[in-house]
Symmetry: D2
Subunit: 320 residues, 4 copies
Amino acid sequence: MRSEEVYEKLKQWVEDNRSHTMLGAPAQYIPALANQDRDQLGICIMDIDGDTYKAGESDVTFTLQSISKIISFVALCHFKGLDFVLDKVDVEPTGESFNSIIPFEIHRPGKPFNPLINAGAITVASMLPGDTVSEKYERFILFVEGMIGHSLELDQEVYESEWKTAHRNRALAYYLKESNLLDLDVEEALDIYIRLCAICISLEDLAKIGLVIAHDGYDPIEERQIFSHDVARIAKVLMVTCGMYNSSGKFAAHVGIPAKSGVSGGILASVPPKWHSPEKAFRKGCGIAVFSPAIDANGNSAAGTMLLRQISEEWDFSIF
Amino acid sequence: MRSEEVYEKLKQWVEDNRSHTMLGAPAQYIPALANQDRDQLGICIMDIDGDTYKAGESDVTFTLQSISKIISFVALCHFKGLDFVLDKVDVEPTGESFNSIIPFEIHRPGKPFNPLINAGAITVASMLPGDTVSEKYERFILFVEGMIGHSLELDQEVYESEWKTAHRNRALAYYLKESNLLDLDVEEALDIYIRLCAICISLEDLAKIGLVIAHDGYDPIEERQIFSHDVARIAKVLMVTCGMYNSSGKFAAHVGIPAKSGVSGGILASVPPKWHSPEKAFRKGCGIAVFSPAIDANGNSAAGTMLLRQISEEWDFSIF
Amino acid sequence: MRSEEVYEKLKQWVEDNRSHTMLGAPAQYIPALANQDRDQLGICIMDIDGDTYKAGESDVTFTLQSISKIISFVALCHFKGLDFVLDKVDVEPTGESFNSIIPFEIHRPGKPFNPLINAGAITVASMLPGDTVSEKYERFILFVEGMIGHSLELDQEVYESEWKTAHRNRALAYYLKESNLLDLDVEEALDIYIRLCAICISLEDLAKIGLVIAHDGYDPIEERQIFSHDVARIAKVLMVTCGMYNSSGKFAAHVGIPAKSGVSGGILASVPPKWHSPEKAFRKGCGIAVFSPAIDANGNSAAGTMLLRQISEEWDFSIF
Amino acid sequence: MRSEEVYEKLKQWVEDNRSHTMLGAPAQYIPALANQDRDQLGICIMDIDGDTYKAGESDVTFTLQSISKIISFVALCHFKGLDFVLDKVDVEPTGESFNSIIPFEIHRPGKPFNPLINAGAITVASMLPGDTVSEKYERFILFVEGMIGHSLELDQEVYESEWKTAHRNRALAYYLKESNLLDLDVEEALDIYIRLCAICISLEDLAKIGLVIAHDGYDPIEERQIFSHDVARIAKVLMVTCGMYNSSGKFAAHVGIPAKSGVSGGILASVPPKWHSPEKAFRKGCGIAVFSPAIDANGNSAAGTMLLRQISEEWDFSIF
């Protein structure tokens, strides 16, 4: 498919799906998210040559929020090995809410269900290498910057807002501590976790990360292996089974692309190469980032989800 | 019944029940509790003339722990009125554990189930009058000292141990905060709550408190009303329905005395006056305090519970 | 207090509380209950001489529904002994709904929490003496008829309606069976349970039952012991801690009379003798039955509860 | 890869994994399952030409048990359309047990979480076309027989055992009925559900079904579309996210093949075609059936799971 055609279609589909922003609303718990322009919808696709295809409000930056969970999982596995990480956090989906304490109290599991619920993500963040919160943050940010090729910033206002209102996450983290599922000091664990959520990212950077995950940890542009095939594989499993909060199953059924969403309205998606008919776009896989701040009842970008669904149907991106 | 006979019987019953210490073990979560001599069993009964009847290890002091919950409920009702308090905390028993988050997450109640589970007790402690934790503590301690006639001490070691290991209570308190069930700062609320738990008390003082509750807030020795009849009545209801953790129902069935236990091994019991046959002891009611640090699986003093059961059966103390 | 005065006051209080029927509505799940006249409010009090004091719609009959639970508990204890029964069903309150499966699945208890939730009541009904459902029913009805002095009828229409719509109770009963908490065949256990719920009763008969429970199993009119003091004591404990569904705690706090309600709108209450000032009515205890079919969100008669509260406050009936 | 080599490897891997039968035990709840020879391990792989590759005890037949759930989902979608089915049952994974009532009582969902937990499977079975249980069974069995090319039998003994001991499923089904999630009569719904579980199958037949699912509903041997691509896609999503009980996530991570297990010890697996290097076996996809009756704590064949893991690693079968 020619580039012009890709551009044309993306532009069309963004406009087709913009009205779905009406089906959600920006997250209200902190001002920085609540005050976002709710009508925005933007996308960036990066192919294996590093070419990007953008449409809509594609020059925005936003905070990673829960998208950071899959990246910190990858980073931790890269730094400490898959066995170390899987010994501390399970990879099972859960039908409960991402911040629920119920499964812990009922089942007293030996580890959090998976790294994409808050309990698992706090545990993962707490185990990043480094003796202090700053060192852990530094190591993580260097890992991500290495993947995208330039430096990243923390959104200080978002970080401070989240720190002040993190009562539920504090409850969860102290519960983990009580259950011996958290080695680090609770306030430090929350600090690193909340910092990762508050990192600012552009659609292009996010698409690049999606591309590397899609290619099993290999950066096809720079031609180097950033993290192992095994880590990438499990990251994709987690994105499919748990990446879209409590509509992960429906997203897998109707879209079928490994993806991770955040309450800021971003979605990171990884389209692996596929034994495609030649007329389809992006046969060699791609990374996709979408952004639309109006999120639905499950916490996923309403229009972003619908846009990905249309793209997947049209270009046959489902891995199933 | 003559005093000598009462003494004689108490002494006998303490020895009868001492072996029940084998059915429990001292609480293990902080050293100060874990290191207690597990074989101790002591009792003090105070009648309406202020005469005390003691047997066993009756000169011990120990920290109030959960016994403080019923006293802080009474104090808060006294200071702020019953309506104010019942608007903030319910008076319903719950079959869940005293520190469970499950009922909050399932039912999202508008207030904690009752003031004798941790959630309710933290809320109650947080609302004590005073602008600071120290002022709140001061007001509470003065209230109790007014009832017993001399000053009380905080066990600094217990306080510090509990403060450091209070992960589960922190989880609960942050959950309350998130649910808008706690106005005070979480760390301050925990601080006042944990201080109340760490107050040192003697059996005689505890028996005096039991006596005043038994007499509907009236101190028959000093001949003055310390708190209202209504507050005392609801305190007794709570002691009967929720006072003995998850064996409150069995304690009501087999013992039938309003009582509140703590994990330090103490039990506060209030025997109201009863339309008794004249040959029974303590017809005009009494306060009882027992102490035996080996607690059972529900958190109640194992031998203390059995001793109270025998006393209640022999002297017909059940309110039912 | 003179009889005329008692009549006068009851009449007044019924009218005072009739408007509270607005705060509830008749149970809707079967036509026989849904179609009741929602404005009715009636009361009958029986004293130890067998004299009755009635006001409002006091000549109604209605089905026992959950009121049968406390009577079947008493009957089973009478027939098989307290130890046998307490070995099969606990006496602990639960904050969960009367028909909840959650506590069973979370805690896997060895017995139902108490005989006044459906699980416990089905277990109790299933253990009544007799080889068949008919025999069990016969033994139960003879026990109750012996207490009230004449025969009782089953409301066939109510029985059949409840049998057909008992999906939730079937779920519960099969869950009990799976958990080895039910020896009898499930359909038979449900049959006897639902029959007991469908027995028709008058206010006067219910007041008589309340009187006998209040007097520790002794019938002061016929001057004979119908069941043991111990059984009556535990029945009163259960009525106080679990008798009014999930507002049992509030009822104990504000009314303080052992009572059991049913969704038909009836309440059975037992006022024990009390060391009263002579000017109060019913110093020697009484049985009370109220009926008002509009039930509140917890399942208790809305106006009936308020009427009992006023009576208890005026005549100081609380056991606390 | 040459056929001889495939045979050789399969034979080797079966022997490599046979000792893993020690990590489980046959299901105990009915005699027909409990009495199976626990050391068995057999496999059959069918390629797109219809050639089969067998090793171990490969001539066994066993009852479908939970494997029927994915087939009945496919059949119902085929008969009534995907939209009809997805309107009645969700496709979300749940961390709770396959027979749990907790999520229903906590969340009161409008439909069962997914068709592979018992609640969803009972709902699905109940909606199969046909006016009677026999007709529904007939339609289902004809659908499956059409796929495998010969007739199937019901294991009457297993059916009757399961019918008699299905207390937990009855509880669940009556709960569904109460929640308006089941239109059919409960006993009929259970009857059809239990019949499907009791259908006898051979490894070869099961491999054929796996092959058709792997090829998006297309039978490459008979060269005809049996059910739609869309139905097959969602079947594969469900197998990945929910197919292996509460270790579905770990199976996806470590094996990565869409699969469904049953407590009889069978596993149905569907390996889609993959853009493979030519030296790998089964590049054009295959169906796999394994059988080993010793099941682990999650309900999955212990040795069967390990055998699939080895095969997937060696031949790179993971879809991730």
